[in-house]
Each structure stands twice: as structure tokens, then as C-alpha cells.
């Protein structure tokens, strides 16, 4: 995966950090201090389509469905997450208990073209 930089318009991972203090959530989320949300952006020319490891992804299935149901749909591919990891949270619930859990697939680590 490639991280986005100013001069490239190709498919890349755009970093995006949500600071819990900034959105007023630091009172109920004890750890971490924020969420590295990240997302995928950029162009996917035909020659970049079909990055390995994406064959079984949800996105591939959706796009295949779009193509199957729409004969006019072209072969343009999309820039989507290819690697994700969980977000570990330590937080207060509504009963003031403290809960620790790992939410799967919340952080985008790498992007690629379908």
C-alpha cells in the first residue's frame, strides 16, 4: 500500500485522525486518545486493478454484483482497503462500568485497486 502524498493522484491511503478530546469524547473513552480512521482515495487505472489479496473481500463482491446487474458498467476499478486491523477501546458504558474490547477491521492499514 502507498500513503497519499501531495503530488500523486493514484490510489493511496489517506491518513485521518479523530481526536477524542476534539470531539468531546475523552470523558467516556479512557484509551486510546483518538481513532486513526484513515481511508482510501485516488485513481485506479485498469492496469492497477486486481491487487492480490482482495479476491474474497466484501468490496469485490459488491462491485461484481454491480457489474453483473448493469451491462453498461465498465471495467474501472476502485481504490479500497486491502488491510485492516482492530481498534482497541477502553471505555465507560452507560452503567459506568469499564469495558475493554477490540472492534475488528476499524483501522485501514493499506489500500489497493479492485
Amino acid at each position: 500500500g502507498i500513503d497519499c502524498s501531495g503530488d500523486s493522484r493514484m490510489c493511496c491511503r489517506q491518513e485521518f485522525f479523530v481526536d477524542f478530546k476534539e470531539i468531546g469524547w475523552e470523558d467516556w473513552i479512557i484509551q486510546p486518545e483518538g481513532y486513526h480512521m484513515n481511508y482510501c482515495a485516488g485513481l485506479c487505472p485498469l492496469h492497477m486493478a486486481g491487487i492480490p489479496g482482495l479476491a474474497a473481500s466484501f468490496h469485490t463482491a459488491v462491485l461484481n454484483l454491480i457489474k453483473a446487474n448493469n451491462p453498461d458498467a465498465a471495467m474501472d476499478s476502485c481504490c479500497v482497503p486491502t488491510q485492516r486491523r482492530p481498534l482497541s477501546l477502553l471505555y465507560y458504558d452507560r452503567d459506568s462500568n469499564i469495558v475493554k474490547t477490540d472492534i475488528p477491521d476499524m483501522i485501514v492499514d493499506a489500500c489497493g485497486c479492485t
Binding site: M37, I98, T101
Partner: protein, 232 residues
């Protein structure tokens, strides 16, 4: 998407930078709340004292404990590592006691469990942590009763009763997994623990004197399996 047109996943790029930021933050909030099964962000009026939280976390992960009295959990009091099964989300829950009525010979503690989790998760293990404040040398008998509301919700019934011999001040653990598990099937999961002493201790617990000795229940839970649809 038709040839030459932006692919469906790239709608975000068309937004102005400030709008894009707002959309992303709203998406992040919505995503976290829905994954935690919370309808809205919790409002925390009284956060736990830092000392109580740190002590509880330390005790939960400790390799050894001062006193291990319960059957069904390791003698060292540690929390066994449970392997995630079938990718189901797991939770570790710390519930701190709310003080209830007390007399010179008994103390009531209340533990309220997460309503959201009660509906969607099952308890794998739960341990009650108590810090004894022993009045003097010798052995001091204590009876620990786990009380649950009956089906009408009006009366309390004894789910289990354990007699302990306390010899010195320090942490003790008690397996309450079964009681918490059966509570999770109820609408308002609240566990009441009654501690009864033979003689007049004042209070068998040190909780009222120090945040670091606050009684708590440490539980491990796992998201329930979704209902399976069978196809012939």
C-alpha cells in the same frame, strides 16, 4: 460505475475539505457507537477514581494475588487468556460496587451490568474481588451470599452462599461466573452481594476508606453467535 466515471466508493473525494472532515468525523462516531451497540454516547457523571481503576486493572492482570479462595479460578488469581473463537468480538468488563444498606454485621454491594452487552453477549467468566479489613489476629468467618431478583423483580433470592475464613487483610477472589451468566438473561442485570460477619467488625471491607480497595467484578464476555439459518 460507467467507464470514465468515478467509482462508487470515491464519492468522498468530491466534497469540499471542511465538509469532508465533518462527514468523516460523523462517520467515525456512528461507526464506533454502532460497533459498541450504543444508541448514543454514554454520559459519565461520576468517573471512577483513578486509584480504583488502576488497582482493578492491575489485579485483573496480576500473575499472583494475596488470597485466592475460590474454586474454579486459578490459584494465582490471574485471568486465563481465552482464545477468540470464530472471530467473535470479546469484552472485558469491570463493574465497581455501589454501596447498599449495611448493618454492624452485614454489608450489601450492588453491581450493575451493561444492558447493551446483556442482550448481545454471553459471560465466559466473572470474578468478584474483595479487599478484607480484618480487625485483629485470628480467623474471622464471613458468609458471602449472591442475591438475584426473583422473576417478579420484587424479592431477592439467594443464588449461592459461600463461607470463608479470613485470616488477614488483603484481596480475595470469588468465582461469580454462573450468577452473572444467569443475570445476563434478565432485563436489568444487577447482582447483589451480601457479606455477613459473625462478630461486629464495623465493616469487613476497606472500601469506604480507600479508592484503591474498591470491590469490583471482572468479567469476560463474548458476542453471542448469530442465529443460524439452515438450508436443506
Amino acid at each position: 460505475a460507467p467507464r470514465g466515471v468515478r467509482c462508487p466508493a470515491c464519492g468522498l473525494a468530491a466534497l469540499a475539505p471542511t465538509t469532508q472532515r465533518d462527514v468523516l468525523i460523523a462517520l467515525a462516531k456512528q461507526s464506533i457507537l454502532s460497533k459498541l451497540r450504543l444508541p448514543d454516547r454514554p454520559n459519565i457523571t461520576q468517573p471512577m477514581p483513578r486509584g480504583a481503576l488502576l488497582t482493578a486493572l492491575r489485579r485483573m492482570y496480576a500473575q499472583r494475588t494475596d488470597t485466592a479462595v475460590s474454586p474454579g479460578i486459578p490459584r494465582d488469581g490471574s485471568t486465563p487468556h481465552l482464545r477468540p473463537e470464530m472471530g467473535l468480538q470479546e469484552y472485558q468488563i469491570l463493574s465497581f460496587a455501589e454501596s447498599g444498606s449495611s448493618t454492624s454485621r452485614s454489608v450489601h454491594l450492588h453491581f450493575r451490568f451493561t444492558r447493551e452487552l446483556a442482550g448481545s453477549a454471553e459471560i465466559l467468566q466473572a470474578t468478584l474481588y474483595l479487599f478484607w479489613a480484618v480487625p485483629g489476629p485470628g480467623t474471622h468467618p464471613v458468609t458471602v451470599r449472591l442475591l438475584q431478583p426473583d422473576p417478579t423483580g420484587l424479592n431477592m433470592t439467594v443464588a449461592s452462599e459461600t463461607r470463608l475464613e479470613v485470616q488477614r487483610a488483603g484481596w480475595a477472589t470469588l468465582d461469580v461466573g454462573q450468577a452473572v451468566q444467569s443475570l445476563f438473561g434478565q432485563g436489568s442485570p444487577r447482582l447483589t452481594v451480601e457479606l455477613e460477619v459473625a462478630e461486629d467488625w464495623g465493616s469487613p471491607l476497606l472500601a469506604s476508606h480507600s479508592d484503591s480497595h474498591w470491590p469490583f467484578v471482572a468479567a469476560q464476555a463474548r458476542a453471542r453467535l448469530p442465529h443460524r439459518v439452515q438450508r436443506r
